[in-house]
Subunit: 353 residues, 2 copies
């Protein structure tokens, strides 16, 4: 009984002190801003082969000083795949993977670092413990694109630098853009980081208007590969999210629609009656020329959904006192606050713990 | 003395057991394959504005059921930026950031997950403690591209599915490709993961042959932003790496050139005389129709460099007993082994600890 210098009480204190000391010293929790990943990587989904014939062979010098190489444009092309980058946190709190689908004329970059250098929703949701799959849709970004009019049936659309400013409820409509942001007419109280607007225009990519079915097919292939899941879709991707959920109701377990610009098939609305879904709207909708129509189309689809037994929800951020958000809310100054609204909704639906 | 059920010896055992148990349970060292990041994100560099005028305004329906929107093609476009994604490990062992520049007709995807699902060089170097900046060059992938012939002066080049197989020393030259890989004539002992070849073709992107100066300008902007650094460049990017190093010799501290397809300015070779640089070559060069020329051009540039006082190095992998590598060695089955060769070279030059 005298093997030790301390009695049981002292030993208990020592145990507690040493135990917590060891914990603090040997394995202090990493600072909260460290991202610990079990895995990260990328893959492609979907796509098809197309054969082109009857075109002349070209001899090209691909790099100056290099060896000339024959490029035969005839043959089989791989087209219409989507690109997906994924990040799996070491400690997952989201019960399902969170798929992020970007808006038109953009790529998965919209969810990455904001144009003024803050965390985008990719990092924000990842740090909260969601496994995030961030896609570039068919013909956007790293997904590549196919020759036109041979494969894609129309010409691509390019937008000028003023276009998103005036169309995405950052500025006060047509004519409000000015490269000198101090001279631009931003909507009052707008949360877009105006000092990053010029930088934001660098992430615009050409887009087609005749590729919807190809985009949807690749997204369904993605759902088949990684779901059950939650799909978070922005703008143009709203229709793909609705339609992918209608095609795979057993796999798309919830939809978060950020100002969706189009909807699913109303004839098949009943398929979504048990799918929790919410549409998120920012500020300045009523005063805009186009957004009341876009929103009304979605609410019309909601009526059909409700008649079929569904319970679609709407979150109007201004009604919760969150003001100043335009169409690019994932990169607004208060993007953390908007992400929190989404995370709370997902928590309430049982997808986050 | 009877406050406890255990005596001091038992308490000591309990303390040891509980202490180590706690350590194991609450804070076991993360498995070696966990990636701990201090930061990750993306940004754009470079680019310029171009004004287009004299074209008719179009009214377009961007999504079915959406509101029609006027697209005025006249105006100011943002063009010729590069996209960069970065990953900063929590514990850095590379003394400088490692910039990865991809080859022609590809994007930064070439360094990500291999087409058969293994870690690519991005993950491999990151796990070794390098801060990695992985770029999409101007007009590739997420960098977007500009309208032609208005802004880019030529048409884009698309390659067929057989092209890389026959041109990148995976298969035995023209005619060796077959979609059924068991029927394709791969080079004997080739390390390319043939089961992933079809998947690999999904990462091919269109490319132009008239954008070299724009690509270089954006890469120099990248160097100005994040260097001093080491640049690892593949194929087409060889010339950009040499030329960026010639433009910024104080910032590009070392060059790793993976089968570079073109070089820098021989008139300015002396600028690189103090820059450690190495070119890495795989297998099957001599038997190929094009690669002896491409390699000879690089060795010719080396002669000029040596005459100017430089000490450029060559690593021929087969001479080190590493066989079977084609042009896409960053995704070959032995890509870890090739990465280790590069890491050892960088260690020997003092850039890794």
């Amino acid at each position: 009984m005298t093997d030790f210098l301390f009695g049981p009480k002292q030993l208990l204190r020592l145990w507690l002190a040493a135990g917590s000391g060891l914990l603090l010293a040997a394995c202090a929790a990493p600072p909260s801003d460290v991202i610990s990943l079990k895995d990260m990587g990328s893959f492609f989904v979907g796509g098809r082969e197309v054969t082109i014939s009857g075109k002349p062979v070209k001899e090209m010098l691909l790099t100056p000083g290099g060896a000339p190489t024959k490029i035969d444009p005839n043959g089989v092309y791989q087209v219409e795949q989507a690109y997906v980058q994924y990040f799996i946190p070491a400690r997952q709190r989201g019960k399902l993977p969170l798929l992020m689908w970007h808006g038109g004329g953009l790529s998965g970059v919209e969810y990455e670092t904001t144009p003024d250098g803050r965390d985008g929703w990719l990092n924000i949701f990842l740090k909260r413990g969601w496994a995030v799959y961030n896609a570039d849709a068919v013909e956007r970004g790293r997904a590549g694109w196919a020759m036109y009019p041979d494969i894609f049936r129309s010409e691509p659309v390019f937008v000028t630098k003023n276009n998103p400013f005036e169309r995405f409820r950052i500025g006060a409509g047509p004519g409000s853009y000015n490269k000198d942001m101090s001279q631009a007419r931003a909507l009052p109280g707008n949360q877009f980081p105006l000092e990053g607007y010029d930088n934001f225009t660098k992430q615009l990519v050409p887009r087609w208007t005749t590729t919807d079915e190809a985009i949807l097919a690749a997204y369904i292939a993605l759902v088949d590969k990684v779901c059950p899941c939650v799909v978070l879709a922005h703008s143009q991707a709203g229709q793909f999210a609705y339609r992918a959920a209608q095609a795979r109701p057993d796999k798309v377990k919830a939809l978060v629609l950020v100002e969706p610009s189009a909807q699913g098939d109303p004839q098949q609305a009943a398929i979504l009656r048990n799918t929790p879904l919410v549409s998120i709207y920012g500020d300045y909708i009523e005063q805009d020329a186009r957004w009341p129509v876009i929103k009304a189309n979605n609410l019309k689809f909601y009526e059909v959904l409700r008649a079929a037994g569904g319970q679609p929800e709407v979150i109007n951020l201004p009604q919760r006192g969150i003001r100043g958000n335009g169409h690019m809310m994932m990169m607004d100054r208060n993007n953390q606050e908007v992400a929190e609204v989404i995370n709370q909704w997902l928590t309430a639906k049982g997808f986050y713990q």
